[in-house]
Amino acid sequence: MIALLIRDLRLAMRAGGGFGLGLAFFLLVAVLVPLGVGPQSDTLAKIAPGILWVGALLACLLSLDRIFALDFEDGSLELLVTAPVPLEGVVAIKAMAHWLVTGLPLTLLAPVLGVLLNLAGPGYLWLVISLALGTPALSVIGAFGAALTVGLKRGGLLMSLLVLPLYVPTLIFGAEVVKRGAEGLALATPLALLAGITAGAAALLPFAAAFAIRINLR
């Protein structure tokens, strides 16, 4: 299992692994939005939590179809299914690897981009905390979507349509945490809900995804 995690991380870091793709997209969003909206700092401060969360979410979405599609194409997914490792564990590990190469770097980069969007001072801490709590859910839900569409040619569009509605609660509560944090309001409720979504998704969706893969490989 550890071997699978190491392999996936190594593949992501090697040429063509798509490691920087999400980060570059996130950077572009954060740079372009102020140019499009205009330089009024209070407007930017107001929309910053939402923009940062939407940017992180879309950046995450970009690399989702790689989770299983590449392994499907070269045959290693079939071989993993016949290997003596639980497929649920394989899904969980691959979702974790996806988070380590997208969600985690996005979380670490976000405060820097917050400056570009004039995010209010107390918001930075909560931006990092909310992304750290919420992006694992994005990876796990995304792995589920990727599992549902594995084997489909050009399944990326279908997967985005499947996954986006499932991302909505994470986006709402994540952005709400940052917004309230920036304004100094109480944020325990959205934070708890955000953590709850992540915990629930991580506990349940690997089983659903493994089931979907078994059906799709038939």
Partner: protein, 208 residues
């Protein structure tokens, strides 16, 4: 452990291709599957490997004991030969040992799999079988893109596997130099009578 297949029916794309397949594969023996293209050799192997369910019948003795080698080798092109093999060894909880040397890949161990020729990739794909530690090998056209030397090399590896109590079910048309029984799948081809029956019922005898 013996692999027993009893009265097995398998389907590809929702159409039953083989039915009533019976055979027993004792340890130490190899069984070669023959039959024209499309008869269902790959489908049969996939069912035994547990990748898809059987329509009818039973497979016993497969369980956790089979290693499946498909058409695709499951190689990661950006990883080196050694990294690819080490990964599969770790998944199966085995050691790589002298596997690379046995498949004549030792000189290539630090090259990226992307730079291998088709035959070298195939050899690496087959080397994976050796690090599974599994007794029953399910081989789907294992000699595709191998030259005669490599076929002979793989034949030796197979013989050694059989001599140490392993067994192999092989879909191939190439002579691997094994003392293997041959099972022709043609007699098990599924009848399409159901479809014709439905046609006759709908349109009667007068419609011809």
């Amino acid at each position: 452990m013996d692999l027993r297949v009893a009265n097995l029916a398998v389907a590809r794309g929702g159409v039953t291709v083989l039915q009533g397949v019976n055979f027993t594969l004792p340890s130490g023996r190899a069984l070669v599957l023959r039959g024209p293209n499309g008869i269902g050799k790959t489908t049969l192997l996939r069912v035994i490997a547990g990748l898809q369910p059987a329509i009818a019948g039973t497979v016993t003795g497969a369980g956790e004991g089979v290693a499946y080698a498909a058409h695709a080798d499951g190689l990661k092109t950006t990883l080196t030969v050694a990294e690819n093999l080490t990964f599969w060894a770790a998944i199966y909880g085995e050691q790589v040992g002298d596997t690379l040397a046995r498949m004549n890949l030792a000189e290539l161990c630090d090259r990226a799999a992307a730079n291998l020729s088709a035959g070298q990739k195939r050899r690496l794909g087959l080397a994976r079988l050796l690090v599974t530690g599994r007794k029953i090998w399910l081989l789907d056209e294992p000699t595709v893109s191998l030259d005669t030397t490599s076929v002979a090399l793989f034949g030796d590896v197979l013989r050694e596997h059989l001599a140490t109590g392993g067994s192999a079910l092989i879909a191939t048309h190439i002579d691997l130099g094994l003392e293997a029984e041959v099972l022709d799948l043609s007699p098990f081809r599924a009848k399409l009578s159901v479809k014709n029956g439905a046609f006759d019922a709908a349109f009667g005898d007068g419609f011809a």
